[in-house]
Amino acid sequence: MEQLIRKIKGMVSLKAYIKQRDDLHFITVKKEQLELILSHLKNNEGFTHLAFLQAVDFIEDGKFQLTYMLCNYETNVNLGVLVLIDRDKAEMNSIHSLWAHAWQYQRELFELYGIDFPGSPRVHESFVLEGWDEIPPMRRDFDTLEYSDQTFYQRPGRSTNDPAEYMKEKMYKNYAASPMIRRDNE
Amino acid sequence: MSLATQIFYAVISVTVATAYGLTLGGITRKIYARVHGRFGPPVWQPFLDIIQTSGRRVSVSHGNMFLLGPVFRLAGGLGTYLFIPVIYGSAVFSNFSMAGDLLLVMYFVFFGQLGMALGAGQGGHPYSPIGIARGLAQMSTFELPFALAVIAVAIQYNSLNITSIVAAQQGGFMNWTLFTNPLAVVAAMISLLGMNMHSPFSIVLAPQEIPIGPPIEMNSGFLSILQTNRGLFAAAKLVLFMNLFFGGATNLLEMVAKTFFIYMFSVFVGAAYPRFRPEQSFRFFLKWPTIAGILSIIYIAYLGGTS
């Protein structure tokens, strides 16, 4: 694996490399070099299986992180290729020519995150939502509870308790002194 | 016998046959359930179903032909039944049997399905024309061995009158067509499987493919007519088969016993087999049963048979 990372470093500028487990590694590459590295990994390094393509919303940094999870069936190693793209005007190159099922993920990402993949087939078709007119729901600035309260009729009588508070009040009145509770040590 | 008495007898006969056919349907469900390892619905469940469907308050029609579909179907069932002598020698159950009735009955067996095809087509649901196409295609394929078997029987007994065919089979079970011309019975019994539309020939109603096909839009009263017909028609077919191949019946008990076993043949095949693909079903009917039918004619006409 180290050999492969060295090789990739020679090809593209590697922004970060994390080894999570023996069989799971993450590399971060530049947006422009993604297609190059993916096709190299697929064609020459045996990472033939695209397990998924998903996005993570880092709203604080104004970035989306796209994760391309590849799998090598010979060495049984998973490699996550990460790309950071801008959150506003989110757009990414389509990889539908590399894997025949990649367009599905791209269609889902367009609908749930609003990330556009120009050229990807059926990317603007609705996937799981019908007639959605709000901001894409998986973005972190979309408040699903507020939307649900406004749109669907809540039946009165539901109450929500913060479990920590609730336990403190009802079950363990002397919470601080209780030896039964292991608190986190942060 | 005056016409009025005859009509009165026919009403009794039709009522008994319908009730018997529906009970058979209930027994079928019970047997299926037992094969499945279940308790199963009560035997009188089909009667409750008919009351329930006819008692709906709303009913949607799609036009005149749609209305006529179930009516044609019931007419087919009635027509088939009314020209078959049910019990040999009984005044009440001899119906309108006459010379050459076998041809008329053959016609009526397939009449209902044609009428249904006209009616269901107007429902507008895409699955009904697909179901009709399958149904008519399958009908014309299982009609072939059945017709061949009937021709063999007609040659054998030199008659197109069911009553005289039954009469010729009296006097011991060795006179039944089952034993005098077994090949014709094989051909006919296989085509009965197709007629009864149990698996593996249930391609018309196939719920997993075209959710129950032609009657998909039938509701309320229309459906209850179809259900009634299902009981009557099942009884009519079984009685026809009993008369042609199993020596007829001289009393009600014998009729019940014989038809029950004829019906259970297709029920047990149905419980043990999955469904054919339409083209497989067509090819199946055009193969072995047709060959058996042709051989039976050769056996009777050229080899002399045993009669």
Binding site: A51, F52 | A133, P200
Partner: protein, 399 residues
Amino acid sequence: MSNLSKCKYRGYEADRSKYPEMENGKAVIDLDSHKYTKIWQGPQHPGVTGNMSVELIVNGDEIVHAKTHVGYLHRGFEKLMERRKYIQCFPLVCRICVPEPDTNEYCVSAAMEDLAGITVPEKALWLRTLNLEMSRVASFLMWIGGQAGSLGMGTIGQWTVGMRDFWLDLFEEMTGGRVYHMYMIPGGVRKDLPAGFKEKTRELITRTGKLMDDVDKSFMSNVIVKSRLQGLGIITPEMVDEYGIVGPNARACGRECDIRINNPYVKYDQLDVKMITSTVGDAYARAQIRYQELRQSLDLMSQILDRIPEKGAIQAKMPNLVNWKIPAGQTYIKAESTRGEHGFYMVSDGSEKPRRVFARGASYTHAIAVLEKLAVNISLSDLAALMVSLHTCPPEIER
């Protein structure tokens, strides 16, 4: 193993390549010409698996175009999990795939353990293995029923789903839940085995084995089943990588990809798991592989029952789960469900709620890209059988 040349009715099949006319590599389908009919198979249709729909254009009985529509079961699990604390996610994750919820539970708890660096005690791992295998058996039993039902043979479905119910009883005894178990929580499992559980399981294994003998006689070796499934929906080895096909669907055409063997998790490295493959790739080969895997799962379970340690902790020492904060990081945990690679991708930002949880279900590609490809040029009557033979499970597609 079946052979394509043995396929009885194959020679009769009409040449379907002439429909529709191809133009520039794209099918030209003129609906107004009344040559084609548009049919929506589902969501209200007894032949589709779960609540999804396939938009079909048929020419007679032949499908010339298929398009999958999902989203009828979309609940936004991933969004909901972002709003919940880690331990509150557990009631949600098991509902992602209803017939086989335990793989979800395992993946999420393993992902949390991986991120937080928790080692699970030995006995808990064995119990997890047992639970995962039990859920595989339950799911396969349901699948056999579905495959038989899609061919119109309700009898097998009644037998196997009835048998599955006894497995659900065992689940209830073990975990307290019939369908949703929430058994594997971070750090281990919730409960030890109840008294007498092993004997009951062994007895049920024998009963299921006997039922499988009956199924083999009446379903797997049935002439009509063979004639319908052989040659249906052939997946070629080239398609496996192209479409991301996993699990039994990929093993049926020769790809050796079983995560239990390739990347052993829980205790599979100490068990005798065999790779079951075939080279044919049609629906019948898939059915046989699933049938044999069910047999193997029963066998594995006897091995597990012999080797579960009597004593030992079932829970690692955990911080207070109510305020549990997991260090920042990301991980991907995959496990072999009955449909193939089932994985969870979890990103933590150091707070007490996950930043992102993504469930990768095997059906995601099977039900959309693969189904749309394989459904073309088959008969309308085979679509239900094809969908079941790909083992699609809609809730894990749309989540």
